[in-house]
């Protein structure tokens, strides 16, 4: 025990003296730090003309002092002895290393909780929306019935009063028209509400009726211009409104059929979330176009970045180790790796959109217009190609993929360089000794051995491409995309969808008591989408790490 005490506390101070020294040191340190920070802030305020109140500076001073003391006291306590410093750093280092892991855990827990909330809130919102669809359909049906009743009430008395005229017409025009008119304007048999035998019965009947009246009226207009004007007015007015109402009923029914989601089990909701398109209704929103967009973009990125990246890396590693050109290229690559992704977006937006795809888009529109005017005109080969291609949007998947390809090029080059460098020279020498040329050596020996490393680089490139949103915002990926993307169409990607949903205002819904409650459904949508995205990315990253470990093991001989 004494030996231990001597080790930790060579100066043989008591615990109290230790603490006192520590406190003195900590207080001095914290006051010093807080004073420096506040002085700096005051200087910057004066230099930069930033408006800061005295209270703000004073509170900043107090806060900094408190923080510094809180962090500094344990530090000073520990600093009092050499052994304590050493021992404590073990724990500090361990904590620091797994601070990241801790943050990740908090991250996932929080995202997970919001996803669970999503599963809890979504069924309620879907049920309320289903109810809304049904209520709208009922309202439209009621409106149609009301209009028909009013029409009957308006027409039948007039028919009564026009009996003499009708008798005259019956005598002088073809009987079937008058009979048709009478049949059409006869008081409808009241149908009990809700007892329609088949779909669209109400609207179909109404439609047939109005069609009959329309037919009669047309005939009457052609043959008898002086037919009682009052009746004609009412017939025409009634027709218009009844037709509108009937069409409303048909449409609401269609919308209800399409929109009502009967299945609100968690699996069905999750499947709907993945396969739906984004929508203005938070519970209907889905990630399908974003998912496809991400997949397309990842594919094009690999197709662009991997061949060019491997090529550049091979050039640097195999063909020119030294020389001013390779030095410039190497420096360039290292710098490009650090350029913010936003700047790549500006580059892509300018080069691919303004200079390449926008002119193609406009020219295609012109060619299509000319074709619509005169299909037999002579078109050049380029024009014919444009006619054959689907509509080329100026901000399309190809351009986005090219931009991301440029963005991830440095990653692929650096990873490939490391992989190629790790291939031992003995392999190359053996190959040359057997008479192979440079390229044959590379293709048949170096590249296969470097394949795991190149694969790691590819996977890192894919995961970066899937996770990047900033360059695509600059490039102009659309924020509300409802159709699946194709090579030349507009697109959106998963990170952008999350970005779009993350700061949308909450949805207002009326709860049971009728008060408006704010539900953060968009945030839960963003959390769910983030979880899905993270699962994909973490799987990719884990795969990359596994491959790299395996490659390192294989090359150790």
């Amino acid at each position: 025990m004494n030996a231990a005490k001597k080790l930790i506390n060579p100066e043989r101070l008591t615990v109290l003296q230790l603490c006192r020294q520590a406190v003195v040191a900590a207080v001095l340190a914290c006051l010093g730090i807080a004073a420096t920070v506040s002085a700096l802030r005051l200087v910057l305020d004066w230099l930069w003309d930033t408006p800061d109140s005295v209270a703000g500076v004073a509170s900043g001073f107090a806060l900094t002092a408190l923080l510094a003391f809180g962090l500094g006291f344990p530090l000073c306590l520990v600093w009092q002895s050499r052994e304590l410093r050493d021992r404590s750093f073990t724990y500090v280092g361990f904590l620091a290393t797994f601070f990241g892991l801790g943050v990740l855990v908090v991250f996932f827990v929080q995202l997970g909780m919001e996803t669970i909330t999503w599963f809890e809130t979504a069924p309620g919102l879907v049920a309320r929306q289903n109810e809304r669809y049904r209520a709208e359909l009922r309202a439209a049906q009621t409106a149609l019935r009301t209009k028909e009743t009013e029409f009957d009430e308006a027409v039948l008395p007039l028919l009564e009063s026009e009996k003499d005229q009708l008798a005259f017409y019956r005598a002088h025009i073809e009987g079937k028209w008058v009979a048709l008119l009478e049949q059409a304007t006869r008081k409808r048999k009241e149908e009990p509400a809700g007892k329609e035998k088949s779909a669209e019965t109400l609207a179909e009947k109404s439609a047939r009726r109005t069609a009959m009246i329309a037919l009669v009226l047309k005939h009457l207009q052609e043959t008898h211009k002086d037919y009682p004007p009052a009746l004609r007015e009412i017939l025409e007015l009634g027709l218009d409104t009844m037709m509108v109402e009937a069409q409303n009923v048909v449409e609401r029914r269609r919308e209800a059929e399409l929109g009502i989601r009967a299945d609100t089990s968690p699996w069905a909701l999750a499947a709907a979330f993945v396969t739906n398109v984004p929508s203005n209704a938070a519970q209907d929103a889905g990630i399908w176009p974003a998912l496809l967009g991400s997949v397309w973009l990842a594919l094009i990125t690999i197709l662009v970045a991997v061949p060019i990246g491997v090529g550049a890396a091979l050039y640097l590693e195999e063909y020119r180790h030294t020389g001013w050109l390779s030095r410039i290229i190497q420096v360039n690559i290292n710098n490009l790796a650090g350029v913010p992704s936003v700047v790549f977006g500006i580059l892509g937006g300018f080069v691919f959109v303004e200079m390449i795809f926008k002119p193609i888009h406009l020219h295609q529109a012109q060619v299509l217009y000319a074709y619509s005017l005169d299909a037999a005109a002579a078109f050049s080969l380029w024009d014919r190609l444009l006619l054959w291609l689907p509509p080329v949007a100026s901000r399309n998947v190809l351009g986005g993929g090219l931009t991301l390809g440029l963005l991830t090029l440095p990653v692929v080059i650096i990873a490939t360089q490391e992989a190629v460098r790790a291939v031992p020279d003995s392999i190359r020498h053996g190959s040359y000794a057997l008479g192979a040329t440079h390229w044959q050596t590379i293709w048949h020996h170096v590249l296969p051995m470097a394949r795991p490393g190149i694969l790691t680089g590819t996977i890192l490139a894919i995961s970066r491409a899937i996770g990047e949103a900033a360059p695509l915002v600059l490039f102009g990926a659309l924020l509300l995309v409802q159709q699946s993307p194709t090579l030349f169409s507009g697109f959106t990607v998963m990170p952008m969808q999350i970005f779009n949903w993350a700061d949308r205002p909450p949805v207002l819904e009326a709860d049971a008591a009728g008060n408006m409650v704010a539900i953060d459904m968009w945030r839960y949508n963003a959390a769910f989408a983030s979880v899905l995205l993270l699962i994909v990315l973490l799987t990719l990253n884990a795969l990359a790490i596994y491959l790299r470990n395996r490659a390192q093991k294989r090359l150790r001989y």
């Binding site: 009013e150 025409e236 027709l239 069409q247 449409e251 919308e255 929508s279 949308r504």
Partner: protein, 308 residues
Amino acid sequence: MRWIKAMAALGVIGCAAVGGFTQEKNLKGEIKIDGSSTVYLITEAVATNFKKLHPGISITVGISGTGGGFKKFYNGETDISDASRAIKSQEVEMCKKNGIVFLELQVAWDGLAVVVNKENTWATKMTAEQLKKIWHPDTAAKKWSDVDPSWPDQPIKLFGPGTDSGTFDYFTETINGKERLSRSDYTPSEDDLVLVKGVEQNKYALGYFGVAYYETHKDKLNVVAVKAKDGDAYVAPSKDTVLKRKYPLSRPLFIYVKTSSLKRPEVRAFADYYLRRPELAENVGYVRMNALQQAKEYKKLAAAIAGN
């Protein structure tokens, strides 16, 4: 029977107007729409619903602004132009020059409510001049007493929409005379709930946003009655005063449809659907027209289609 008399008063148009009873289910085609970012919200909602019924139709809606949308419209690039103001005479000239015949249809009303805290008893009425004094960057009144000496000597805390929204453009143009001309030291937010909460929690706060959102949170805020110029009365905003065009900070929202595009069944169906579903405009926060106004616009469309 009142509705019959009302309709009769508007005149009678040939029946079977809207292309007959459209049960067409397999419409295919493309509709290009561009224009105001204010009307975009309605058009987008309508297009989303419409596409559910007719999945074969592709609708692209852009937001180049009312002026930009008209430019594309008279160059023949779009079928429908969203507009938050009536078309100007120069634009009409350009349409004539390029042989574009169009149909103007109103789709909704847009109104701006100026709101203050529930405890704000002094600013129940304001003139447009006073609002300008507060919001113009040159004058940018700091305290309530700067606007009216009888008001409290307290700094005004301002809330308003962000610079990307159509509400911002409209307010600055109406009050300050120029689009986007506004003081910049206010709390901006696209989320109306944030604005409502901000004004609700601060006794000396003032904010502005759409009338529809004010109606939803009526119980938490006081609204300011606005007078446009001397000689007018102070009018408080409500759905009614906006509809009747009595409230000065209200404007109609239009779509302009190219008559030649109406020959295509998909455009016909879309325009017809647009006018038959005014509650979609209400859902996005505007004021829907009353039944009379709706019927009038519908008749216009029916006439144009029949004329084709």
